[in-house]
């Protein structure tokens, strides 16, 4: 049935619709630079979404946990054999994405008889110098992007855009870790709210979101309030690639105590519940 080119294009189109549907409930992931390195933040339920890949590389994922595990293992295998056979400084995020992940994900996406990867991935790489810090994102169809400063994963490109523009607006150079975490969590709340709004709108059948709801909602208090509502029975997850960490491995997952100390007062309540 797929021999005809048109059928194939149609099938790939159907996959997009199917995959977009899968991410609707996903929890966004935020990564941004702070004065000591890079921080990754998300809110997870049950399975963790932030992982250590190599000495200076961290991963954040959105999507199906089993697919994420599969990809994480192949990344770990590639990074470690490369790091052992060549040297740790030859393991770069950009090569992992371009030669390791992107072709595999793209192929799985386009082979319409097989199951695609239900995931979006963010790789954060701590450079030897702060200006070399990179953030890479890869979509379920294998397209990837390389940025600096901040990057996000969310259900739709529209939500991602909304989150990044919020981050650009709120971020200044030399953020402390506490400031970075607070900003990231607000961006998360913004993304999560936009995703929920979009799916509610869709259920109600109006394609266009109500324009009146938008302008008032960017203030910190309303975002914190949304976060408090949504974080119940979930865990705030935060991991850093800390430039000042002694030794070669720069990855560190923040435990709940540490996170509790870092959060501003209006968000502390969110964690306590």
């Amino acid at each position: 049935m797929y021999e005809e080119p048109y059928r194939w294009v149609e099938a790939v189109g159907n996959r997009r619709t199917y995959l977009d549907e899968q991410f609707k409930q996903g929890s966004p992931v935020v990564a941004l630079t702070y004065d000591g390195g890079l921080a990754l933040v998300t809110v997870s339920k049950g399975t963790p979404k932030l992982y250590e890949i190599y000495d200076r590389i961290a991963l954040g994922g959105l999507g199906h946990p089993a697919d994420l595990e599969k990809l994480r293992f192949s990344l770990l295998e590639m990074a470690h054999t490369e790091g052992f056979n060549r040297s740790p400084s030859d393991v770069t995020g950009s090569r992992l994405v371009k030669y390791g992940m992107a072709p595999v994900i793209k192929q799985a996406f386009e082979e319409v008889y097989k199951a695609p990867f239900i995931l979006k991935v963010l790789l954060a790489e701590l450079g030897q110098k702060p200006e070399k810090d990179t953030l890479l994102t890869i979509n379920y169809d294998g397209t990837f992007e390389e940025t600096t400063g901040c990057a996000v994963l969310a259900a739709t490109p529209a939500v991602q855009k909304e989150m990044t523009s919020y981050l650009h607006q709120e971020m200044s150079s030399g953020l402390s870790l506490a400031q970075a975490v607070a900003t990231a969590l607000r961006a998360w709340a913004l993304g999560d709210r936009a995703q929920r709004q979009a799916s509610e709108d869709k259920e109600r059948g109006d394609e266009k979101p109500t324009p009146a709801a938008k302008p008032a909602s960017l203030d910190a208090a309303s975002l914190s309030a949304h976060l408090r509502d949504r974080v119940v029975e979930k865990t705030i997850e935060c991991a850093v690639l800390d430039r000042n960490q002694p030794g070669t491995s720069k990855y560190r997952a923040l435990n709940q105590d540490e996170l509790g100390r870092l959060l501003p007062n209006d968000l502390k309540a969110a964690l306590a519940s």
Binding site: Y51, I53, D55, F73, L76, E77, H80, F84, G247
Partner: protein, 257 residues
């Protein structure tokens, strides 16, 4: 498919072999020209080693680092053929990292010990041929038992626990006797020594080894050449900087006759 998270297995699947498969029993003498030592002190374990690398009676290099950090909580001190020893350290370093990152938990101390003896066992043929003999000391912090521990190995991979101390290398016979004497009849046993006293003890022991063993490098003040001394506690591994060793050496080790 090997065990989950086994990096060494992964390497082998890709055709990697540790050490050369040299002819067994070519009858070379095993050279372990060096002195490494480890003992328990008040806060944890101290591991120290001299800096000399030799080939026969030639001094190859006087700034070798024989006390190597495998991860934040474990250290391997090496005696034997450096090429093989450094390779083992590289394999171990990547194995522990790979395990932690894939399995999302730290490899247990027992597991780390097994990894060391497995590597030594795989290396037996090279060890017997005289091209790759390594007799290391492995020390680390065991979180399950809340204490730092010392283990030493023979070249075939047999594992022994150094309850109070362990030594290896050509200079070790000299200091083994001293350690026994100091620990039994000294003012206080090694395990009661505070950090500074333990460091002084290590400097004295290595100086004694260098006195009687030509393959052990002594302390050279003019070249500011000091041994490598690392301390393992629950907080991790810490290297005692030369700036700290220098005054201790001058005040507590050096004797003007």
């Amino acid at each position: 498919m090997g065990m989950q998270g086994d990096f060494f297995q992964l390497l082998k699947e890709q055709g990697y072999t540790l050490g050369s498969s040299a002819q067994v029993g070519s009858g070379q003498e095993f050279t372990t020209a060096t002195t490494i030592l480890a003992f328990k002190y008040r806060d944890g374990v101290l591991v120290a080693g001299d800096r000399r690398a030799t080939a026969g009676n030639m001094v190859m290099y006087d700034r070798t680092d024989k006390v190597l950090e495998i991860d934040r909580h474990s250290v391997m001190a090496i005696a034997g053929v450096p090429a093989t020893a450094y390779e083992m350290v590289r394999v171990l370093e990547h194995s522990f990292k790979y395990y932690r990152r894939t399995q999302l938990q730290e490899l247990s101390f027992e597991g780390k010990l097994r990894a060391v003896s497995k590597l030594l066992k795989d290396n037996v043929s090279a060890a017997l041929a005289g091209t790759g003999a390594v007799a290391p000391i492995f020390a680390g912090y065991d979180f399950e038992q809340g204490t730092a521990k010392i283990f030493f190995y023979d070249i075939l991979g047999a594992e022994f626990e150094g309850v109070e101390y362990a030594v290896s290398g050509s200079g070790s016979p000299t200091i083994r006797g001293i350690l026994h004497y100091v620990n039994t009849w000294g003012e206080q046993p090694l395990v009661a020594l505070p950090e500074e006293q333990a460091t002084i003890q290590a400097l004295r022991l290595l100086t004694s080894a260098a006195e009687f063993d030509s393959a052990t490098g002594g302390i050279n003040r003019e070249a500011s050449l000091y041994p490598i001394i690392k301390l393992i506690t629950g907080a991790g591994v810490r290297t005692v900087p030369d700036a700290q060793l220098k005054p201790l050496y001058e005040a507590q080790v050096l004797r003007h006759v």
